[in-house]
């Protein structure tokens, strides 16, 4: 991230309260992840130890240290979706995209080797009436079945 943009973001937060998380949130939204260099730069600029920032970024599931691919697929794992088979949806996605569930930090965020798709999981979207749901780049898909996955993926340029 450009140092000038970072300075602008920091300038949005003149008071201490909510400053650190607010800045991190804006970086996450802008860059879709928190770049390591930006975090280091930020630590010096707002005089918060890097260890503290790193603790925050790894704690909240909202933040990600890994860059995401072209399309972001968020699978809802809230209770109603879970009951309606969200686990199967995720399995189907993993199978089609060739990603695995391995996680070292407890956060589910998998990107395909060609950097086209990133799959993450979330808790409730508030669209339980359409469970199970998933979201691709902000677009909601309801009543999803594992069989529908290839069709949804093809809409975003996935090829068998």
């Amino acid at each position: 991230m450009d140092e000038k943009i970072l300075d602008e973001i920091i300038a949005h937060y003149p008071s201490q309260s909510g400053k650190t998380l607010g800045i991190l949130r804006e970086i996450q939204i802008r860059e879709k992840h928190i770049p390591m260099d930006t975090l280091k730069l930020l630590s010096g600029k707002i005089d918060v130890p890097l260890s503290r920032l790193y603790a925050l970024v790894t704690f909240y599931s909202f933040f990600s240290l890994k860059p995401v691919g072209e399309h972001l697929i968020t699978v809802c794992m809230g209770t109603p979706c879970h009951v309606k088979g969200a686990e199967k949806i995720l399995e189907s996605l993993e199978e089609h995209l060739g990603i695995s569930e391995d996680t070292q930090d407890g956060k589910y965020l998998q990107t395909t080797p060609d950097n086209k798709f990133t799959v993450e999981i979330a808790r409730c979207f508030g669209a339980c009436s359409m469970a199970p749901v998933l979201r691709v780049d902000g677009e909601l898909h309801g009543y999803v079945t594992p069989e529908m996955i290839p069709k949804i993926l093809e809409k975003y340029g996935w090829k068998r």
Binding site: M36, L39, P49, L50, S51, Y54, T58, G106
Partner: protein, 274 residues
């Protein structure tokens, strides 16, 4: 010895139905320890504010006939304080905690010994096995190292990373952290001796903290490395370090030698006869 000499009031506390005299405002855990009443604990550190993280020092506070489980390290002695330290409920709680700790830090001898002392040798929980754990499978995540690094040393070189079952303590991005001063206070306060570091040549290597390497100060007198450079610089810039100019760069051994030699030189060679 005067009971009131230091301005502190002596009050009466009741522990397990026996009455004792104790200093008002004292941390109850210390009072009990001093009186020989055994309360197990892991995360109490006198240099830091009581935190109640390990939950092992749980005791029952009796108020108006009702009991309330509270960590002994967060209780301050006051007149009429009534405590029970070994009720069946407390023992049950303690034993369960020991089982959890045996699963959390399966390699820790400290935990094993402590648990065995209370009759707990096995755990029903899944043991946490981490390959190449920089904390040797001994960390209980009490946070003392993180707190001492931030609150006492002001370095904030390490922190909690991730959360829930994935929580670990290390440097940001698991890489060498220039914020570390190599003071090793973290290793000193660790209740389970999980933190490893070693002085290799003229460097101190914090093996648990992603091999963060800090250069050591070399004694100009004997040429031996003795303390982390950055730490020494910090100490020496303190006003009134109380050190005289000639010895301030020397290692503790050479400082002692300097004083001994000075004392010897003062003794007249003719045995003190005029």
């Amino acid at each position: 010895m005067s009971l009131l000499g230091n301005g502190k009031r002596m009050v009466t506390v009741t522990i397990n139905k026996n009455q004792y005299l104790a200093e008002e405002g004292e941390i109850f855990l210390l009072t009990a320890n001093r009186l020989g009443i055994d309360i197990p604990h892991l995360c109490y550190e006198k240099a830091l504010e009581p935190y109640g993280a390990c939950r092992l020092c749980m005791v029952d506070v009796v108020t108006c006939g009702k009991t309330d489980m509270t960590p002994a390290c967060t209780i301050r002695v006051q007149n009429g304080l009534e405590i029970l330290t070994d009720t069946p409920q407390i023992i049950k709680h303690r034993n369960l905690l020991f089982e959890l700790y045996l699963a959390e830090a399966p390699k820790s001898e400290v935990i094993k010994e402590m648990a065995a002392k209370y009759g707990v040798t096995k755990t029903r929980f899944l043991k946490k096995i981490v390959h190449d754990d920089p904390l040797q499978g001994k960390c209980i995540l009490c946070g003392l190292c993180v707190r001492v690094c931030e609150e006492i040393m002001g370095a904030s070189a390490i922190s909690f990373i991730n959360r829930g079952p994935y929580t670990v303590i290390n440097t940001p991005f698991y890489e060498h952290n220039p914020d570390c001063e190599g003071c090793a206070a973290c290793a000193k306060v660790c209740p389970t001796n999980a933190i490893v570091f070693e002085d290799i040549g003229t460097n101190r290597v914090m093996q648990s903290w992603s091999d963060t390497t800090v250069p050591l100060m070399i004694c100009p007198e004997c040429g031996k490395p003795f303390a982390p450079q950055r730490l020494m610089e910090k100490v020496l810039t303190k006003p009134e370090s109380g050190l005289i100019e000639e010895i301030k760069d020397l290692c503790p051994e050479c400082r002692r030698k300097y004083f001994t030699l000075r004392e010897i030189r003062k003794i007249p060679t003719n045995g003190g006869q005029a």
